[in-house]
């Protein structure tokens, strides 16, 4: 198969594949499609990948059975902040994949997928960790937990 030709300057930048999804997220299918693209890179697959999948808990912050989780975002700013965050954190990475849900989710549904490919495990893991923490604190998303028909906005994040 012919290797993908990229501009030399462009080839030094990480490949960013970032999306917010209103429909269900199948993280393993997304990962498989992304890895097929990585295999076409000049030089083949990067040597290291770090993956994170976050799912909706079955209980609320108050310990009650969760009916649903709602994810609101600030359109335009969320996409912009995600792009900025990826550019800053992915300096040592070859490629970054982020999928983040918005809208209504059920317990067990995937909320977020972060995958980073790099030449070594250190950059892959560091970038993945920084991206995830940035998503939790610096990209305008808000969660609302629904329990017994009552919605409660989640203020802040669970501990690391």
């Amino acid at each position: 198969m012919e290797a993908e030709r990229r501009d030399p300057v462009e080839a030094t930048l990480p490949r960013l594949d970032l999306q917010l999804l209103t429909t269900s997220l199948d993280p393993l299918a997304c990962l498989a499609a992304w890895q097929r693209q990585l295999a076409d890179l000049p030089g083949g697959m990067p040597a290291a990948e770090a993956h994170f999948i976050g799912r909706v808990r079955g209980v609320s912050g108050q310990g009650l059975p969760l009916e649903a989780l709602e994810l609101e975002h600030y359109p335009a700013m969320a996409e912009r902040r995600l792009q900025e965050l990826a550019l800053v954190t992915a300096q040592e990475a070859t490629a970054v994949l982020v999928r983040h849900r918005i809208g209504q989710l059920r317990p067990g549904d995937a909320i977020v997928l972060v995958a980073v490919a790099a030449d070594r495990r250190g950059p892959a893991q560091r970038c993945g960790q920084a991206l995830l923490e940035g998503l939790k604190h610096d990209v305008p998303f808000w969660k609302r937990e629904w329990v017994n028909g009552v919605g409660t906005w989640v203020e802040g994040n669970t501990p690391l």
Partner: protein
Amino acid sequence: MRVLLFAGLRERAGWGERSWPHSAGLTPHQIWSQLPTPAPAHSVRVAINHSFASFDTPLNPNDELAFLPPISGG
């Protein structure tokens, strides 16, 4: 200019978007102090035209100002 509220802030205020009259030297802090049911300012962040900003940034007439409650993504 436009003022936006999100999530719990929107529900406490009862509106999510309003036009706001601009005046010279107007800052997010001045608008925040006029909102009917504000949360503690230390728990809220400000964005101007989709970028984080401080509460004392001077605003321009066509700015989009948003007050953001604590973020909980990921």
